[in-house]
Symmetry: C2
Subunit: 273 residues, 2 copies
């Protein structure tokens, strides 16, 4: 796909479903990947509200030239129930962010947020093995990142969430899968951790509250975001002002694009007519 | 929308649903119109089989950034039942080819095939008023064209269809709306008519049978197609070989693009950020 005028009846389609939708950057990155591969494939963004998810996904099953779709806020957890097949990782995390539409309309769900986040850290020269990590959030993305960080060899994981019951539940599941790892529920203070990760949606909208107490942040700490738009959130500005090393949300997405393409069944090379 | 890289979360979407899908040319033409208007709007082609129409359309209602869609073979008649509101013309013709998605997900259906066909003839300097017309087909497009030709002032209309009961039914409805017009069911011989119109899908696929008996075609006759791809069908080749003036399917679509854009609520000019 090189030009808008190439979009036609033979184009294989991909989608990203989200609410809100304006901030998504995945179509731009995925369409660039399709362009590089010379593929007649296109990704579009679909605005789907939480209350409409089942109806929308049922409809997507009926589109024979739709190859797959990315699922993002607020649908990642709800999407789990709507897939016919799930990867082991999606089952463990309890969320889905990439769906492949099989030829008979069945949906295969996987989760790549965690793998993508860890790959994004490494792409920027940050190796999480041995880190003590403070993770904010207990939703779909936080779940995936918790398990991927545990797999990557962090030595301590503190999970903080506004609804503490959700944090407790995630802590229990990570402990069960990684018994030798120190995992506990945290307060709003991220002090004493090498890496501080925001995996909540706070920062997506202007005027959002900060996801943690930033007063105690020290220059030895790395503060990472998973929010892509705006690239600099209030949390990152606060961390920067306190001399912390910051890690924006975009490297995670860049790392995920190839993983997502593979997850939706996009071939590595194309035979073009 | 100027470039693939402009497609993102803010893009307003349009679709065309069809089966088969490969031949559709509407996305190319509509996206060129959006480009000319500097609009962040995009049309994609969705492959929807007849058995999946209800499921797909129910899903399209749930896409909040979908503004509307074009309906083509084989869904035009079935789409009538799936709209919440219908134009007078769609009710009379009994088919829908353009749907506007209202903000609450309700669907408003209209039919522009007939208007587009007549506009396409006029664009090529052919004025149907006073013509005797032989029309092949009794499906959605044929219905729309029959009523539009009657409105345009043809003096005689002969309708031929493989399933004669459908032709009889269409003849009765046109007679009822235009009592002074001579309307009758025809044989496979288009002789004695000024204008011969193929409004069946025969010619879409290689190896399709001819939609009428071409042996009697004479150089004084004009033979018109509504099939866009291939641009030259076996019928047009046969007509050309017998010295007839031919009229391809594309002018009808070109004429329809602006009508369709209006039908899906596309504004004439955009305020771009």
């Amino acid at each position: 796909m090189k030009d808008i005028s190439d979009i036609g009846g033979a184009t294989r389609l991909y989608a990203i479903i989200a609410d809100p939708i304006h901030h998504v950057k995945t179509p731009q990155l995925m369409n660039e990947l399709f362009r590089q591969r010379g593929a007649d494939r296109l990704m579009v963004a679909l605005h789907v509200r939480a209350s409409d998810l089942i109806q929308a996904v049922t409809g997507l099953r009926a589109l024979a030239n739709l190859e797959g779709f990315i699922v993002t806020v607020p649908h990642k957890t709800a999407m789990l129930e709507l897939c016919d097949q799930l990867s082991v990782q999606a089952q463990r995390v309890g969320a889905v962010n990439v769906v492949r539409r099989l030829e008979d309309g069945q949906l295969y769900g996987d989760i790549l947020d965690g793998t993508g986040f860890v790959a994004g850290l490494r792409r920027c020269g940050l190796e999480p093995a041995g880190y003590s990590v403070y993770l904010m959030g207990a939703g779909g993305a936080a779940n995936a990142i918790a398990f991927a960080l545990a797999e990557a060899g962090v030595t301590r994981l503190t999970i903080a969430n506004r609804t503490q019951a959700k944090a407790l539940e995630l802590v229990a599941r990570v402990r069960s899968a990684f018994p030798s790892l120190s995992v506990e529920v945290g307060s709003r203070d991220p002090g004493g951790h090498d890496l501080v990760v925001n995996a909540t949606s706070l920062g997506l909208r202007e005027g959002d509250a900060l996801p943690c107490d930033v007063h105690g942040l020290e220059p030895t700490q790395i503060v990472a975001e998973i929010i892509m738009q705006p690239p600099m959130t209030a949390l990152l500005f606060a961390a920067q002002a306190r001399g912390c090393c910051i890690h924006e949300g975009l490297p995670m997405l860049s790392s995920q694009i190839e993983l997502m393409a593979a997850g939706m069944g996009v071939p590595l090379s194309e035979e073009q007519s």
